[in-house]
């Protein structure tokens, strides 16, 4: 017998999660982040960026420093936390609803936020433009609450919750369209908000959105290991020491908080919540929610990269970031759909 065998060899079982993958994802995010703050219409030197960030002498000065600290850095950070929030919430919704195509906007959060934002943009008299994130946030939360309220017994029937989410979403979209048509001046800002924008990023937005998102993600990472139990029937989960309904409520509340915050900070950025979880699961061949932190890190990298594309592809003009994520996301979504059908047969 050879001594010093690794754990996995001894029992013949592969480890359920390899944390080196998570470390790799963290390194990837760091690399992508530095890439994003270096490139743009004005390129900044990599060395000088590092020196500036670490507070060493020989860093950027004047306009370049302002560009880095007040524009690119908050924007990259916002992209990262929004990406992490959407990818994690998507993965959690997929587990909770046992539906691989579930996304963070499933329960009406997107349409509710859209309605809230439209109200802010179309309201006559008071200038509510600056309160747009607050309106979007409460729009999203209200839509999800109404979906829960209508479906009644929380998770007794997940499908009725999904259907009421769809109905509430359609209703909110109808009201939003009506408001928009009555106030055609708002068409353009509403439209560009719906496609998602990170141009509003400043330190204030970064601060408040990261507080909410970090709280939500901390809760989700804490319960992530138990979440695997929700892939079983409620009786099996119960017998393995889980209270399934309590866990679902915790998970959905936290995921909705993260989604609503992300939406109110950056508009409706689609497909991150579907693409990233499936990408990570596909590459690692693991569906366990122990990968949640990795999904968050990859989601952050994905959106930082997408934003870099949005800023530079048509430079100096900007593409809405939602266009980039959907351009990658939609074909991928179809791929997942097709693969799922193949597995089912």
């Amino acid at each position: 017998m050879i001594k010093n065998k690794s754990k996995s060899e001894e029992s013949g079982l592969a480890p359920i999660w390899n944390w080196r993958i998570t470390a790799f994802a963290a390194a990837l995010l760091l690399f992508v982040g530095i890439l994003a703050i270096s490139f743009g219409p004005v390129s900044l030197s990599f060395q000088e960026i590092i020196r500036t960030l670490l507070g060493l002498p020989g860093g950027l000065t004047g306009q370049d420093r302002t560009l880095l600290i007040d524009l690119r850095l908050p924007r990259a950070l916002l992209a990262a936390i929004v990406g992490a929030a959407l990818a994690t919430s998507g993965a959690v919704y997929q587990t909770v609803f046992r539906n691989p195509l579930a996304d963070p906007y499933l329960l009406g959060a997107a349409a509710g936020a859209g309605l809230g934002a439209t109200i802010a943009l179309t309201s006559a008299g008071a200038d509510l433009r600056s309160l747009l994130p607050v309106f979007a946030f409460f729009g999203a939360i209200s839509a999800v609450l109404v979906s829960f309220f209508i479906s009644g017994k929380f998770f007794a029937e997940p499908n009725s919750l999904l259907l009421s989410g769809i109905a509430v979403g359609s209703f909110a979209t109808a009201v939003q369209t009506y408001l928009q048509q009555r106030n055609s001046a708002s068409l353009r800002p509403v439209y560009s908000w719906i496609l998602g924008e990170l141009t509003v990023a400043n330190w204030q937005v970064v601060t408040w959105s990261s507080i909410y998102i970090l709280i939500a993600l901390t809760i989700l990472f804490t319960v992530s290991k138990q979440l695997d139990g929700l892939m079983l029937t409620d009786e099996e989960a119960y017998s393995l020491g889980i209270n399934p309904n309590k866990l679902r409520v915790i998970a959905v509340v936290a995921a909705t908080l993260a989604t609503a915050t992300a939406v109110s900070a950056s508009g409706l950025i689609g497909f991150v919540g579907i693409v990233v979880p499936h990408l990570v699961r596909g590459l690692t061949h693991r569906v366990t929610n122990r990968g949640l932190l990795t999904i968050a890190l990859v989601g952050a990298s994905f959106l930082v990269l997408a934003d870099l594309g949005a800023r530079t592809l048509l430079s100096p003009a900007e593409l809405p970031i939602g266009v980039i994520t959907a351009f990658v996301g939609a074909p991928f979504f179809l791929f997942v759909l097709r693969k799922k059908r193949l597995v089912a047969h």
Partner: protein
């Protein structure tokens, strides 16, 4: 000893179980039989402790409802199959109650490997559970229950979707649990198989217990036939083994 007394369960406006009083012995295999809709599955869920009930169910003197201190394994008739999860990981979930979710000890890894060998699943641990055949899936479920090292295992129709060969394989796997001193309560639609494996049989009809006793006693009771509206006949083979056959001639 599990003591069920005056147990009633209502779901919505319907009485699913009414005034059930039964004692279930430790370390024995008790089988619940009866026609569809008799309340067998509801009784299993009540015994698990996840379903609100009136009356009382005590397991060694402790009320079972929402009692998470017990270690009870549950094998459902229609399991929810996690798409993309490997067999090894699926069976490893059985250790979650003992190790805490996500904290597998090396001791647990060894137990899982041993049980995979015992149930003939070793070598398939990376295969997705969603791609298993019916018999393999049932074995994976039993393997997960075995690694849980429970004091009680509840099985809902463990053989319903299987051909005879796999039924026997699965039932033999369940017997491993009994050899380890685990109390077994299962529902089974095949009364002949129930009589072959279980020591005790509880016959249910419309939410009530009709008959309760040793397999031999129950099988030869005239009430068994009436529970199935006289649509079955009981024959005895030369070896003394009872065989229950559906009665084709009777019409409504």
């Amino acid at each position: 000893m599990i003591n069920i007394s005056d147990l009633s369960v209502r779901i919505g406006q319907r009485n699913i179980l009414s005034d059930i009083s039964v004692e279930i012995e430790d370390g024995k295999w008790t089988c619940l039989v009866g026609p569809n809709g008799a309340g067998k599955t509801t009784l299993l869920k009540s015994l698990l402790g996840s379903l609100p009930y009136s009356g009382s169910i005590t397991d060694n003197g402790v009320e079972v409802f929402r009692n998470h201190d017990r270690n009870v394994a549950f094998v459902p008739q229609h399991p929810q199959i996690p798409i993309g999860m490997g067999v090894g990981e699926y069976v490893m979930m059985g250790r979650s109650k003992r190790d805490g979710w996500g904290n597998e000890s090396s001791h647990s890894r060894k137990i899982v490997a041993d049980i995979l060998k015992l149930t003939g699943l070793f070598g398939m641990q990376s295969q997705h559970v969603s791609l298993l055949s019916g018999g393999e899936m049932q074995r994976a479920l039993i393997a997960r229950a075995l690694v849980q090292e429970p004091t009680l295992i509840l099985l809902d129709e463990p053989t319903s979707a299987l051909d005879l060969h796999h039924q026997i394989a699965v039932l033999n796997n369940i017997e491993i649990l009994k050899e380890r001193g685990v109390t077994i309560i299962s529902t089974m639609h095949d009364i002949t198989l129930a009589a072959m494996y279980a020591e005790k049989i509880v016959v249910m009809q419309e939410g009530r217990v009709l008959l309760n006793g040793t397999s031999d006693f129950v099988i030869h009771s005239p009430e068994l036939k009436s529970a199935f509206e006289n649509r079955i006949n009981v024959y005895t083979l030369d070896s003394g083994r009872p065989v229950i056959v559906a009665n084709k001639d009777l019409t409504n």
